[in-house]
Amino acid sequence: MLKDATAIVGIAESPFAKKLEASECQLASEVIIAALEDAGIQPAEVDGMASYTMENTSEVDIAKNIGAGDMSFFAQVGYGGGAGPGVVGLLAMAVATGQCEVGVAWRSRKRGSGGRPWAGAQQASASGCWTRPFGLLRPADEIAMLTRRYMHQYGATREHLCNVATSVRKHANNNPKAIMYSRKMSRDDYMNARWISEPLCLFDNCLETDGALACVVVSAERAKDCPHPAVYIHSVAQGLPPQHQTMTNYWNDDPLRGPAWACADALYRNSDIQPKDVKVAQLYDAFSPLIILSLEGYGFCERGEGADFTNDGGIELGGRLPVNTSGGGLSEAYVHGFNLINEGVRQMRGTSCNQVEDADSCLVTAGEGVPTSAVILRR
């Protein structure tokens, strides 16, 4: 069993900004070194690496920069924002099975200054050929299609999306590292924002950020020797449901029951911690409606109840389930969700800017709408 066999013992992150001068390789190398310092482990001891298939920095480059020794495990997880906790899971499995002893995971991305992926492809091949020629071009359009249907099916409104956007913004307003730290958002600000793809407005969309983050995974035994309290990887899973289509999940019986449900089944099956026990969660938020879907998928409420769950500060500090306590992708930084992992670790260490006092476990998820992953961390 993987349960509590490994732990995250080091985390680090670069500044977050619309534009950083350093290259993705330099940023990645710096945050990995910083995460190793946080863990009290020498770079030469690193023998395992895991990252995203969309990561531009290779294991070879990173190993050369940080001065790693012999590497015995390196692997990647696909599907963009679906990868994060799955990347940590790869290291957990590798450490638990003896394939490596010190694993580092990272994501370095200049999404703020480096251009928009959807703007690149001028032709519509493969999966895009059934959507892009009709003007459904961007991830925002693809998720807006599911959002409109959700609103129709369950009676949700923009007020609910506004709940999400303003709730995570409040959390960012307490986090000096968040890009939106000093920018408050009122409900009027949200309602008057320009459209991106109706029914989604500007503030339903994540930030465009340059940044890098890393974490270090070792065995639970070794974690006892590290300076910070161990944050155990209690359960981790990936999720890919039948007949799923990445982002454009329109061709199955129930498009609003996405990868989160498959992932949650596997996650809780191997977990002593169930939804009722979770007191803080970091839910992937490239778009605000993904939080609503994830609340349902990961079992915090029933189908169709995710929207109302956000009412009355439900996902704010002090609410039913504080979500994205560092500000998430909507208001802290958008680095394919790796900031959610590090915030989960801080919650378990007791060092979050929005600390949930009685939280002894934290759910961290990757993107709903793509083949996904999730991890339950515990103190």
Binding site: C129, W130, P133, F134, G135, L146, P255
Partner: protein, 143 residues
């Protein structure tokens, strides 16, 4: 219209666009278990047969959802924005949802319909608008 973003047609998609040139909406259907599947692919997920045929449909469906994209967009869509994009469940198999554009008649730009008149549940019918010799784009009108 020559500026439009055109689909790249691979082996799996060829029969669809051949039918489109004849004004027909055809869907890949398993020869063994008779179930439709979309997008087209080599194997039936329900019986694993690789034998398929392309069944003629009525070309009718229901609006399942819709969006209205605003800039920033690709250059060829910027001048058309905001424009509605609809998802249409096909009458023959509601799990097949075509993404497409609602218009009034052949030759219409994709932004001719006022999005505030669009409602989920409206009935629509397909026709095919030639963009060039190879590509006849499916377009939808309300019925």
């Amino acid at each position: 219209m020559s500026e439009m973003l055109l689909p790249v047609i691979g082996d799996d998609e060829t029969p669809f666009w051949e039918a489109a040139r004849k004004g027909e909406l055809r869907i890949q259907t398993c020869k063994s278990c008779d179930r439709m599947r979309f997008p087209p692919r080599p194997m039936c997920p329900w019986c694993n047969s690789t034998q398929s045929e392309w069944k003629l449909t009525q070309g009718r469906g229901t609006i399942w959802s819709f969006v209205v994209p605003h800039p920033p967009l690709l250059p060829q869509f910027m001048d058309l924005a905001p424009y509605p994009v609809i998802a249409v469940t096909l009458d023959e198999d509601p799990k097949i949802r075509f993404i497409g554009n609602l218009v009034e008649r052949s030759g219409d730009a994709i932004n001719v319909i006022d999005p505030s008149t669009i409602e989920i549940g409206q009935a629509v019918e397909v026709f095919f608008d030639p963009v060039n010799e190879e590509i006849h784009m499916p377009r939808w009108v309300r019925v």
